[in-house]
Amino acid sequence: MRIVLNGKPCDVARERLDAVLEELGYQGDTVATAVNGAFVGRRVRGETTLGEGDQLEVIAPMQGG
């Protein structure tokens, strides 16, 4: 299935968000996720499934002013 990860097309095999994150290599990382512009909390990743063309944002801490 092809989704959009952080603005770039990306093929993933799994559907559940937690599984997708693992597949993409984010396991254990301090990241937050949004799907199609809406925040998806860590707790509900297990109940969230991605579909074709979904926009997934995986974000992490950065420098800020």
């Binding site: 937050a32 949004a34 925040f39 909390g41 974000i59 992490a60 801490p61 002013g65």
Partner: protein, 257 residues
């Protein structure tokens, strides 16, 4: 000491973490300034590069409290979603709420700001709104649940200081009990000291430190100037007067005509 959402700080300088020559210099600057609070932000993470993880490890090692911002958000929705992600990532209800209204000045969009502040306060966030000296907006932000206000001194990164001294003085006078933080535009320690002499409770800055020739020394200088300005405010300064008054008493002066 002023409390920010119940948290008393030992240092009235809040420092941004961006634009330093290196992570090491950032860390040194934070230590040199002795700040309790640093601002941070969020960005897309690459599973390969994992820059965010490295930055986060650095910040945690500093043992400071973080104030996540919603920098670069131009809509209420963006700002709210960013705040929600920040709360999960940084594990804090604090958020420096920025709803940017205009590209050249990066000035707050007061309309979007109030709207986003209402939403986030309702969601249990402790909002530090980046606002202007506008008194009405200030009142609406307080009604929205904000317990701190962060008016700008001048546009972000400009280093111009306090552009509207009159407006900032009015804001302080109208909300004597609200913690007020000057956020953005401060370029020199004297600007920060002046803000504290006006009775402001803290100063948040980034560029003036990070872009100095020696960020570590500059961070310490700002920390010192802010403490000095606050001490002066509490020590009840003299009233300026238009004419001179001899500091050395004149009585008893020898006659040497």
């Amino acid at each position: 000491m002023t409390a920010f959402y119940g948290v008393e700080l030992s240092n009235r300088l809040m420092l941004g973490t961006a634009q330093y020559p290196s992570p090491a210099i950032l860390a040194e600057a934070v230590r040199a300034a002795g700040v309790d609070v640093v601002t941070v932000s969020l960005r897309r993470e690459s599973a390969e590069r994992r820059d965010g993880q490295a930055f986060w490890d650095l910040i945690r090692a500093l043992g400071v409290r973080v104030l996540p911002n919603t920098a670069g958000c131009h809509s209420v929705k963006e700002a709210v979603t960013t705040a929600e992600m920040a709360r999960e990532v940084f594990g804090t209800p604090w958020v420096k709420l920025e709803v940017i209204g205009e590209h050249d000045s990066l000035q707050p969009d007061l309309f979007g700001l109030v709207e986003a502040a209402e939403i986030l306060s309702a969601e249990g966030f402790q909002v530090f709104p980046y606002t202007t000296e506008d008194l009405v907006a200030a009142g609406r932000l307080l009604d929205a649940g904000c317990e701190v206000l962060m008016p700008w001194g001048a546009p972000i990164g400009s280093g111009l200081g306090l552009n509207n001294l009159y407006g900032l003085r009015s804001l302080r006078a109208h909300f004597p009990d609200v913690p007020l933080v000057i956020d953005a535009g401060v370029g020199l320690p004297s600007h920060a000291a002046a803000a504290m002499e006006l009775g402001y409770d803290a100063v948040l800055l980034n560029t003036a430190v990070a872009k100095a020739g020696d960020p570590v020394a500059m961070a310490a200088a700002f920390s010192q100037a802010i403490a000095a300005g606050r001490a002066a405010f509490e020590a009840d300064p003299m009233e300026p007067r238009d004419m001179a008054a001899p500091s050395t008493p004149v009585i008893g002066k020898a006659f040497l005509g």
